[in-house]
Symmetry: none
Subunit: 206 residues, 4 copies
């Protein structure tokens, strides 16, 4: 599976990624040193030459997760709906490229595998996304780009719901006629934005 005698740094990366993969595809229960070792192509005991114990492996896996999520944050500038659009598009792209990452955010598998501190780290990443979305929407409401009547939280849930829905759909289900899995992230955002702006009813206001 992998060539022999790699430097620790590389093995650590391999192992952390393998851990993330196992957690997301097979569940926390299957995250065993034996399973990891097999995936990476080394003997069980060797795992612990690269990590002190399983906790540190999960921590490393969480770090990989954090990095992946952190890369999918747009800059904090520009018009609110543009920022939000960039965010949604980036997330939907992430869903396509690395479906396991977002599923882990919405699961609590990762948090379950980790101890308290690790769970908190995962929670913080999730919270950061929610906060980002909420701020964009709040700004947009203030600028009257979207209806100020709808409770902010409801809007947040709807936007996040779209990302979750995409993450889950890519995961288990067969596509349907109008399924958005064939749409580009930009197209999905366009629909969503239309909806938020309330313009979708009016057909782009000719």
């Amino acid at each position: 599976m992998s060539s022999k005698r790699l430097p620790t740094a590389e093995r650590q990366a391999q192992i952390a990624k393998a851990a993330l993969r196992i957690i997301s595809t097979q569940g926390v229960r299957r995250l065993t040193s034996a399973a990891l070792a097999e995936q990476v192509g080394i003997a069980d005991g060797t795992i612990f030459r690269h990590f002190k114990n399983m906790n540190e492996i999960v921590d490393a896996a969480i770090a990989v997760f954090e990095d992946s999520i952190a890369e999918a944050f747009p800059p904090d500038e520009g018009l609110p709906l543009e920022r939000l659009g960039a965010f949604v598009v980036m997330r939907l792209a992430l869903v396509r490229e690395r479906p396991e990452i977002l599923r882990l955010a919405f699961n609590d598998r990762l948090a379950e595998a980790a101890g308290h501190e690790g769970a908190a780290r995962v929670g913080r990443m999730v919270e950061r996304s929610l906060t980002f979305v909420r701020r964009c929407l709040a700004d947009a409401q203030e600028r009257r780009e979207i209806t100020p009547d709808a409770p902010l939280t409801l809007l947040v849930w709807m936007v996040i719901g779209v990302i979750r829905g995409a993450a889950d759909t890519d995961a288990h289900r067969a596509p349907r006629e109008d399924d958005l899995s064939s749409a580009t992230p930009e197209q999905v955002w366009a629909s969503l934005e239309g909806f938020l702006r309330g313009t979708s009813n009016e057909e782009e206001q000719p």
Copy 2:
């Protein structure tokens, strides 16, 4: 913890509920026969007088889950947005009363604990909800009660997103100013319905 010598049927119910509780509050990894026995107040070996093995316990737990979800389905009649409203309200009420149930649906803890067959059952319950929502929305689009432009799937995700958001919020977070956790399910639905109908935007533009 519980009186002695209960008939198997009662013990089975106790155990199944305990299993569901453990899975939802402590995670699959903590679902052990010893933990179950302790929660139920019997000796560990006794668990297996009531269930053949752990798989059957998880199956029974899934059955409890299914029943809880099945009770929260409105009748399949009436106007589409009324049906959908009834559904959303019931789910939000379920979130309030038994928060663990919906969190289990959106997690895959339950599915993870179960084998293939059990995971499929959980999947089917989730799917049934999605289908219900989709059908309501499709009907509503056809009747032009909501915009026919937005892709159906997007609408489904948004509606489901609201339920998920409610489930998660009740779970971990401290309330915010406009948090919907203080709103009644009916109020939440009113906001959501306004949004779907696209009326929320126009109402304020006299």
Copy 3:
């Protein structure tokens, strides 16, 4: 090796004694759960139904040791040399009956197997014996039953040395002509007492 299904209390006693036996005859390194299980006649894992972990086993073993030593303490009354004589005789008898016990006191195997707290307990037992001997000898010096010139500590070492010598001799060596292993504890004490009193030179003072 032992009949099946014993109550925990009995198994615990068996295991604790087996642990003491293994430590004293084979050394700390051989005190493994497998070795214990084999000696007691049960499976490895079963050990941990009776003790939470190896530390608790060592603690129980130390308790057995403490009890054995504590039984070999004479009452704290009477003339000093009589008290000391009773003590020496009891210890020499203990050497004959349960040679491993005193060897453990003079080793630090037990202390090594235990954690800090356990080591302290062993140390306290040893200290208690030293203190007992010292007090008897101090009293005897005061009453001029033995020479007041010799440093007390020297006398303590000599008395303890006799007990240690007996413990070690019974352990590894083949008997010699004048070996004291054939003498009764009372005879050994008689010689030692004569020596301490300084009368041995004068041939029982006719």
Copy 4:
């Protein structure tokens, strides 16, 4: 910790001494190749460039021990009590200078760490000391320098007891008023000799 690339002979000496140190201060269980490597300041695998396996390391450690003990043997000539005095003084000096050496002799940690052959070697060193003491005392008895009534073995135990006592005292205990740890080896021997000669009693009866 130590400079790089030493010739094997030096490394072997370092390792053997480190092994002795670990055994005496931390116990056999802590004598691991990793602990040795760390003490010596090399990588763990490197240990086995200098020794074939752990057994050989323990053997080398025993050799260090043997050398240290062998240096503390007086010449086999002169009056018996002088020879014995020289022996006792040398041993007490050894206790002061390298306390771990004699503790190892009275422990069986070293013997435990070693295999059969090594244990026998340690036993032989101990036996050699006992025999030396016994011969001195036997000669002294024959020459009537000490009482011929006391069983020889008892005398041996008492003399050895003093050395052991000194070794143990230096090890764990806080000093007492009359503790001999402040006395010079010569002073201790003077007291012991007086006692053996039986003169300590009469000196004060003018």
